[in-house]
């Protein structure tokens, strides 16, 4: 049996079989030294076993004795070889006596510990973020909702990686159909390994839309808030990002900070975010339409300003816009990929190339630099990368349409954008929810955020039971 396990694992050097002789019986300890905490094995288990050896008067069944008295908080008896291998990979040590196998948990801490939030920063509120450890992540959520109705269901996905996936929901709020739907979708996943939760998200997506239809977050407080409004969280092992389904488009304009501040301020900031989204998607296209087709909209004094700035630039405006866009994207990409020591050098070169030098050389007009700069800054307002990626592509579409037929093109592109957004659904929930199927109560947590809603209501669509907070 032991030999078979060894060959199945492929004689990995980190797989260790420690053989002991206790009361004339052969006892073996099986474990991976890379997955287990060897200190615990030494200090607790081995020490204890050697202590038994010195007491010679043991005449009872050693296997039973060990099962009862070995110092471990969790001893599970395992029966066949598949189970043994699975449990070994989970960081257990397996004790074998006379073909009886007992497993004890001695998992090693394999993550960086709970760290600070990095991408979804807030001014107030908790600062802890999810880690790569599945147990820790579940714990971070459970810590916030200490209730028997917070249910967890586990799955193992990945033919080779055997990654743990947990579905969490609040039983007396969430919709059962939604949970069934998610379970079905997870059960048909057929892949060798899941390196990140985005892989699951790709399986969930059925249309080709650029906008994400799940909410990815690293904030446990956001997850607990959304769980309480009837959503379902999907925790994936080895990923510091938790998926929340269903997602609505307007939620990408909300942050956790909105709920921690004065609601008037939150409303104002949400408005700014929406303006930023419109700016980042439409501004270059709009500018091109104004300056190459529809002068009549621009007041003459502004038009003369445009004309003065554009004078002497040899390229067509469209080319200018695309050029500046590409330069900015290159800068952004290098900034992400380059080692942090090169950052300052990069920013000096970038600022010079993008700003002053290009204008002085007559390659681009100053106003185009301003347009692209405003566009780029507006794009960064989203902490969720997928939305800014989508707006990037849509910006190019707007530029294309504007360069073909001016304001008419801009509005055609706008119609396409709106029809795209409206046609998306997230697990059969309408993506534009509080707006597209209009709901008066949920308007209070749309662009607006009111104190009344914040303290009183859950989302009317996702929470099917207990729609009022504070009833139980």
């Amino acid at each position: 049996m032991l030999e078979e396990i060894k060959t199945r694992i492929g004689n990995s050097p980190d797989f260790i079989i420690r053989e002991l002789d206790i009361c004339n019986e052969k006892v073996s300890l099986l474990f991976f030294e890379t997955l287990t905490d060897t200190n615990t094995i030494n200090e607790c288990i081995l020490k204890y076993l050697s202590y038994i050896k010195t007491r010679k008067k043991i005449s009872l069944n050693l296997a039973n004795y060990l099962k009862k008295y070995t110092p471990s908080f969790k001893i599970i008896e395992v029966y066949n070889i598949d189970e043994i291998i699975t449990i070994l990979f989970s960081g257990f040590v397996v004790l074998s006596i006379n073909n009886n196998y007992y497993s004890m948990e001695v998992r090693r801490q394999l993550d960086s510990g709970i760290s600070k939030v990095e991408s979804e920063k807030t001014i107030r509120g908790p600062k802890d973020a999810f880690t790569e450890n599945y147990q820790t992540n579940i714990g971070l959520i459970r810590k916030r909702i200490r209730n028997e109705n917070l249910w967890l269901e586990e799955f193992n996905i990945g033919k080779k990686s055997n990654t743990k996936i947990g579905i969490m929901y609040i039983n007396d709020i969430a919709n059962k159909n939604l949970i069934e739907n998610i379970k079905n979708k997870i059960s048909i996943i057929n892949i060798d390994s899941i390196p990140d939760s985005t892989y699951i998200y790709d399986y969930f997506k059925k249309n080709k839309s650029l906008f994400p239809n799940v909410l990815l977050t690293e904030r446990p407080d956001l997850v607990s808030y959304k769980l309480l409004s009837g959503k379902v969280a999907i925790v994936v092992d080895n990923t510091p990002y938790v998926l929340l389904v269903p997602a609505f488009f307007m939620e990408f304009f909300h942050t956790m900070d909105d709920y921690f501040q004065n609601t008037f301020n939150s409303t104002y900031i949400r408005l700014i975010r929406i303006i930023a989204f419109i700016t980042t998607v439409m501004l270059p296209g709009f500018y091109i339409a104004l300056i190459t087709y529809n002068y009549e909209i621009v007041p003459p004094s502004l038009l003369i300003n445009f004309a003065i700035q554009k004078e002497g630039v040899p390229f067509p405006t469209v080319l200018e816009a695309v050029l500046m866009n590409i330069i900015f994207e290159i800068l952004r990409e290098t900034d992400i990929r380059a080692p942090s020591t090169l950052g300052s050098a990069l920013s000096i070169v970038g600022a010079l190339v993008l700003g002053d030098a290009a204008v002085n050389a007559g390659l681009v007009s100053p106003i185009m630099v301003i347009v692209i700069a405003i566009t780029a800054i507006s794009e960064l307002i989203f902490s969720i990368n997928d939305v800014s990626n989508a707006s990037k592509i849509w910006r190019l579409i707007f530029i294309l349409f504007a360069s073909l037929s001016g304001m008419l093109g801009v509005f055609i592109a706008l119609i396409l954008l709106v029809s795209e957004l409206v046609s998306i659904d997230s697990f059969d929930y309408p993506y534009m929810y509080p707006n597209a199927p209009f709901n008066l109560i949920d308007q209070e947590n749309n662009i607006l955020l009111t104190n009344n809603y914040k303290l009183k209501f859950r989302n009317r669509l996702t929470a099917i039971k207990n729609k009022i907070r504070g009833v139980r």
């Binding site: 002068y295 009549e296 003459p300 554009k310 073909l404 037929s405 001016g406 396409l416």
Partner: protein, 357 residues
């Protein structure tokens, strides 16, 4: 698939029609025309070389305006863009000799927006176009902003080209246009309106009649009326809002005028703390307004141009009377009666006229 078809349609059906780079265009802001044997055209084009908001002047001739505009291309290397014309100055000779045939060119041209200021001048257009304006460098902007702001003086009507057209093609009413002139080597707005009979220029109204026209058309808000309050002192009252309507009954024109006004300057010894003083002031004010409006009506009778639109009033309200009578005779023989009702909204904190002495 539908989306793809739509995109392709835009490519092939409309692809880049109307595409024009801003740097290839010369933006025309000010146009002046004159007619002697053929059209004489002077335009001002915005100079976008430097940041000084200068204009460049081009001149040409042509038998039609279109030809004259095309002839400018011999001098001007860029394509003319007419969408931002702010002022269109017409020498009064054009209205006298060739009437308003130039309107056809403006109406047919899809690029020209129809909300520019149409102005009449009696000066030579070359002189007017070569004047550099001081405070606002672009002359057309200087003129059009000046017209908007000058309503505080005598209610110079801000008449755009489309207003002019609407009145021109209406029944029983004749258009008026504001005028500009050169004074001390500067363009100034003339507070005398040019009046027409249909599209022919008849004459110019004097200051008082022009003001009366503004009051009767409810365009005189924010303007002031200055009147003599005793033998040698003057006072000013600002008109805040006016509301007027006409009635024509039995050969007499009855004008009802409701005004709200505020006292701006009082230089006579009138005690306005009591009703007597206020009524005294009111009566003097009403007399002055009646004098101005009577002047306007007298001019209408004399000059044979129905700029007040009495013909239109009758056409709408008493059609049989309108077609059975000659309007010129009706206007010449009508009596007029003016009923003015004034409300003073505030008299400011100085209570008595003589408190300050």
């Amino acid at each position: 698939m539908k989306k793809i078809i739509l995109i392709l349609l835009i490519f092939f059906l409309t692809g880049c029609t109307d595409y024009k780079e801003l740097t290839d265009m010369a933006i025309v802001t000010n146009v002046a025309i004159d007619y002697k044997d053929d059209y004489k055209l002077i335009i001002q084009v915005l100079d976008n070389k430097e940041n000084n908001n200068n204009v460049i002047i081009y001149e040409s001739n042509g038998n039609t305006l279109e030809e004259a505009f095309r002839n400018i291309s011999l001098e001007c290397p860029k394509k003319l863009y007419l969408g931002h014309i702010q002022t269109f100055i017409v020498k009064d000779d054009v209205f006298k000799i060739n009437a308003s045939k130039f309107i056809d060119f403006i109406l047919r041209n899809h690029e020209i927006e129809k909300d520019f200021n149409l102005l009449v001048t009696s000066n030579d257009i070359k002189d007017i176009m070569s004047i550099k304006t001081e405070l606002i460098n672009i002359p057309s902007e200087s003129i059009s902003k000046g017209i908007t702001n000058s309503s505080v003086v005598k209610g110079i009507s801000n008449i755009y080209f489309d207003n002019y057209l609407m009145i021109l093609y209406d029944v029983g009413i004749d258009p008026v246009l504001p005028t500009i002139k050169i004074k001390d080597n500067n363009i100034v707005l003339n507070d005398e309106l040019a009046i027409f009979r249909k599209d022919k220029l008849v004459s110019y109204l004097d200051k008082d009649s022009s003001f009366g026209y503004s009051i009767l058309n409810d365009k005189a808000s924010k303007s002031i009326i200055t009147f003599k309050c005793d033998s040698n002192n003057y006072s000013s009252i600002e008109i805040l809002s006016t509301k007027s309507n006409y009635k024509y009954i039995n050969n007499s024109l009855i004008i009802n005028l409701n005004l709200t006004a505020t006292l701006k300057e009082l230089n006579c010894n009138i005690d306005i703390t009591n009703d007597n003083g206020i009524n005294k002031l009111k009566n003097m004010f009403i007399d002055e307004i009646k004098r101005i409006i009577n002047k306007t009506i007298d001019d209408e009778k004399k000059l044979n141009s129905d700029y007040l639109g009495i013909g239109r009033y009758l056409y709408k309200n008493d059609y049989n009377f309108y077609i059975s009578n000659n309007m010129n005779n009706v206007i010449k023989n009508m009596n007029s009666k003016i009923i003015v009702d004034v409300t003073f909204t505030q008299k400011s904190s100085i209570k008595k006229g003589d408190e300050k002495y």
